[in-house]
């Protein structure tokens, strides 16, 4: 039982190195997306190790649930928050680096010393025997979940469902008014002071048709109504260069 064959050794050393590499990458990358990717690498390698240790079901669930769903959700949030935002490195809690180091060291001590001393001398049994009892890994897990650990399992699932419901309630917005229809919106637009029609396209009647080139009104004056709000806010409006002298002045004054 305690012998490790060559294949197992290769799998272990490849996956162990890769998962530690992933963990180091997770805490050293500047970009949140890169951190998430390193984390995914760690998770996939752990899954391979589970499978190599005769726990194929756990390995697959690890990939489907953690890598496929949880990490993906993280990635979603990170990506939607900002395509290019890297984390600010300002420490918000005083001495948080020092505290983190101390706590981290304590955790290492507990894991190495505590677990090490309690597990030392115990023979490695492996899952082989446990899997054989019910005729397979999946059957064994199913048997345990639906007999000995039924209540724990059900209570956990109730907890998870409650949490999901809570999240939905928190994110829910009650509509007090019926949603305005297109016809109502149109009426409201005409009632308002704003110009009800489409805005002029960028660069219409001007030399260029780039998004940041203001359109010219029929009398030749440029109008920045054609510029998207984001560009206007950043002041990224291209100067208009047309032959009409009056319009150049207007463009310079923009």
């Amino acid at each position: 039982m305690n012998t490790v064959n060559t294949g197992e050794a290769i799998v272990f050393w490849v996956c162990a190195v890769l998962s530690v590499l992933g963990a180091v990458g997770l805490i050293t990358s500047r970009k949140a997306v890169h951190s998430a990717l390193w984390m995914a690498l760690t998770m996939i390698n752990l899954a391979v190790l589970y499978i190599a240790n005769n726990a194929p079901f756990l390995g697959m669930v690890q990939v489907i649930v953690y890598t496929g769903a949880v990490m993906m959700l993280f990635l979603f949030v990170i990506m939607v928050v900002g395509v290019d935002s890297s984390d600010s490195l300002i420490e918000t809690i005083k001495g948080q680096r020092f505290l983190a180091m101390v706590l981290g060291l304590l955790l290492i001590v507990i894991m190495v010393w505590g677990l090490g001393s309690s597990l030392a001398g115990l023979p490695a049994v492996g899952l082989g025997e446990a899997n054989r009892i019910d005729g397979g890994n999946v059957q064994g897990i199913a048997h345990l979940i639906f007999t000995d650990y039924l209540i724990v399992f059900e209570v956990t699932s109730a907890l998870l469902i409650t949490a999901a419901m809570g999240a939905m309630v928190l994110a829910h917005r009650e509509h007090w008014q019926p949603k305005p229809t297109q016809a109502q919106l149109s009426v409201a637009r005409f009632k308002s002071e704003e110009h009800p029609g489409n805005r002029p396209n960028p660069g219409i009647y001007a030399r260029h048709n780039a998004v940041d080139t203001p359109a010219l009104l029929p009398d030749g004056t440029p109008t920045d109504a054609s510029i998207p709000g984001a560009l206007r806010a950043r002041g990224e409006i291209a100067p208009v260069d047309i032959n009409d002298g009056r319009a150049i002045e207007e463009a310079d004054s923009l």
Binding site: K31, V33, H34, L37, A40, I44, A47, P56, F57, M60, V61, V63, I64, T67, G68, A69, M72, L75, F76, M79, V80, V83, D84, G136, N137, V138, Q177, A188, K191
Partner: protein, 433 residues
Amino acid sequence: MTDGQWGWFGVDPWWIVIVKVLGIFVLLVLLTLFTIWWERRVVSRMQHRIGPNRVGPFGLLQSLMDGVKLALKEEIVPKGVHLAVYWIAPIISATMAFVAFAVIPFGPLVNMFGVQTPLQLTDFPVSVLYVLAIASIGIYGIVLAGWASGSIYPLLGGLRSSAQMISYEIAMGLSFVAVFLYAGSMSTSEIVASQEPIWFAVILLPSFLIYVTAMVGETNRAPFDLPEAEGELVGGFHTEYSSMKFALFFLAEYINMVTVSALATTLFLGGWRAPWPISLWEASNTGYWPILWWLVKVQIFIFVFIWLRGTLPRLRYDQFMKFGWKVLIPVSIAWILIVATARVLRNDVTMTNTQILLIGGAIIVVLILGSWLLQSRSDRKAAEQEEAEAKAMARPFDAMAGGYPVPPMPGQHVTLPTRRATSSVTTQEAIDG
């Protein structure tokens, strides 16, 4: 397969493994080239055109030529990309597409160069979950491509695509449950073996229909090809990709189509086993013949993909998500409940068919009565509420009802104090100003 044949997996000599891996690789690449040609020809026929017919017999070599051209094209890498991730994304997509095929059974035990071996790379007790897991890693390729391009359209396309694939993967996973219950296993070879008398597509028809719908959503194909909605998102996640990297995404999409079709064949259409009239022929399920039946079944699914693309317009995104979450998933769960109940009744409770029918009938009667009662009660409640609202409307609006300043109830009239004559407006008008 019987327990005796479990031992056939994982014991192949190394060179047999390499032969199988190469065989699957070549088969998938050829199937991709064929599928592209097949799709173009079928869609053309549906649109009263001829389609590619110049290169090779019937234009069969057209997609090979297109592939060569694509690979030789200039590679354009835009300025704002995150290079490392931009490189990894297509590799993840294509690799995962190939890897998923490791557990698809093509046939029974055969004699391969003097070695008895199953026509399947490998199999283990959770191989169907393995396909799901690989598919969920494959989504990373798409999300990362969208993110690494550093541009808005690909990002939106990537997010759409992954949201869609994750949602439809749930429906897909649920449609497997009934199959697992009937087969008593999650290994592909055993599932094929347990469809010996009758296909699961017949006895588990709802599961089959849900899977077929979910597989179209999972592969981002029309009418569910929202991530590539040209009118909204240019090319979706691969907008900024060109040349070989784009070719990899292209390849991955078509291999994914073949993978989901192969999975459908394995789980619902009896896998490599010959269909009925052919199965009367003794030798039909031996040797290398099953690969032919397998290919025909997979091609039928691919044809359905193409047919859908040629027929249906694209769905709106919110309708599509609503369909996945509010129709497919609840229906699957209800169906699983029914199947599980039926299994328990068949296995553990000794009942005659008459008893089962009587009890089933009684349950249906109770459900109908109950829903009727509930409906009449909710009708009564709605009527009461309407009455109360009518009463509230009839009451004049009290801005300090209950001691606190309150807004008017829907339909109540607000009397706005004006300098001139007091004017009466409804709530809606008051809000509109």
